[in-house]
Symmetry: C2
Subunit: 215 residues, 2 copies
């Protein structure tokens, strides 16, 4: 019975890790779709999201069955509950990638993002992918040091996000209001994507050390 | 023991209901702060959010203790797990009200929202408050009909949100880019607030009927 429990717990953790990887892959392709006005890739991100949503349902059911049949306590319980919460975060990350892809699709064949701010999104996309790769890794390795790295990398995302608003607000923005609206939403999507990765990292730290990191 | 369990479960449900009410009150005041450029009210919403965050921590711990000590199964387990998830939604709703208040504070003594679109935010604020009142009620009453009402009311929010973008995008918007950025973010905050209320309602329906409503 105990072996069965451990296997189920490992399976849940593996699904969560896979979901973080899929969310990262979705954001990588969404960013590509955005920067290259690549409709095929945008459509792919949009249709692939169903898979992530299905994995969430599946993982939540697996966690529920674990709770019902195994009644774990202490650190095992914390792991199951935390995984359930992180599964929701990882699906939301995929949902935010989906939103990015939808903006790319809406503006096609135009580019949603003027060349002037391309660099911001290339870099925010790069950080988003890095954060999700980090989350994918730490839910398996349970390395609190590495998990803390996610919060540190998120600072770079926040800085970029702030700078992006400065560009929109302070200069002579000559790309029109529609473009400003798109960029505002896009910036928000990348920032929120990173926030969810941070949550996943914080949960790993809490599960391992019993302490909630500040933030 | 069983009585203790039921009391704890009721306590958890009550906290969740209270949190929905607090999130609604926060959004009501944030909307007032926004529309009247009322700095005192904005500051109050911002400082009050700590209380909601503390309630979330407290509720999550209570749920965790319930799982650890009582090992509930079947519908009780579903209720505890669902409450944990909804507690996160309700805190996020308060967080979105906080974001609205922060935009009001940032633009003070100016109005963040030009008079032309005041009506949209008055109405989105009204719907947001209604949705949270509905969530506050149904987590206690567990009435699936009333819970389904939340999704229906959310459609009005989505329509308003879409119209708002039409105003920003299609007309001669002469309030500048900074204002368009604020309004884009504000629209998103109200829309997300409603989405979280919908999630809470859907969870009630699932707990009572065993079926996930479409959406």
């Amino acid at each position: 019975m105990r072996t069965g429990f451990q296997e189920q717990l490992d399976g849940l953790t593996q699904t969560l890790s896979d979901m973080c990887g899929l969310a990262g892959a979705a954001m990588e392709r969404a960013t590509q779709a955005l920067l290259q006005a690549d409709l095929v890739t945008a459509e792919q991100v949009i249709s692939d999201h169903e898979h992530l949503a299905a994995l969430r349902t599946q993982a939540e059911e697996a966690a529920f069955i674990l709770l019902a049949l195994q009644a774990p306590v202490a650190s095992d319980l914390r792991l199951v509950v935390g995984s359930m919460q992180s599964v929701a975060d990882s699906e939301r990350m995929g949902g935010l990638a989906l939103h990015v892809a939808k903006i790319a699709r809406r503006r096609h064949p135009e580019h949603a993002v003027p060349e002037e701010v391309d660099g911001y999104f290339a870099e925010m996309g790069r950080i988003a992918v890095e954060l999700s790769a980090c989350a994918q890794e730490v839910v398996l390795s349970r390395d609190p040091e590495k998990a803390a790295q996610i919060s540190r990398d998120d600072e770079a995302m926040d800085q970029l996000h702030k700078h992006l608003f400065t560009v929109l607000m302070d200069r002579e923005w000559d790309h029109g209001v529609a473009s400003a609206v798109d960029i505002t939403l896009l910036g928000r999507f990348y920032e929120r994507f990173a926030d969810h990765a941070v949550e996943i990292g914080r949960r790993v730290i809490f599960q391992v050390t019993g302490e909630t990191p500040e933030g």
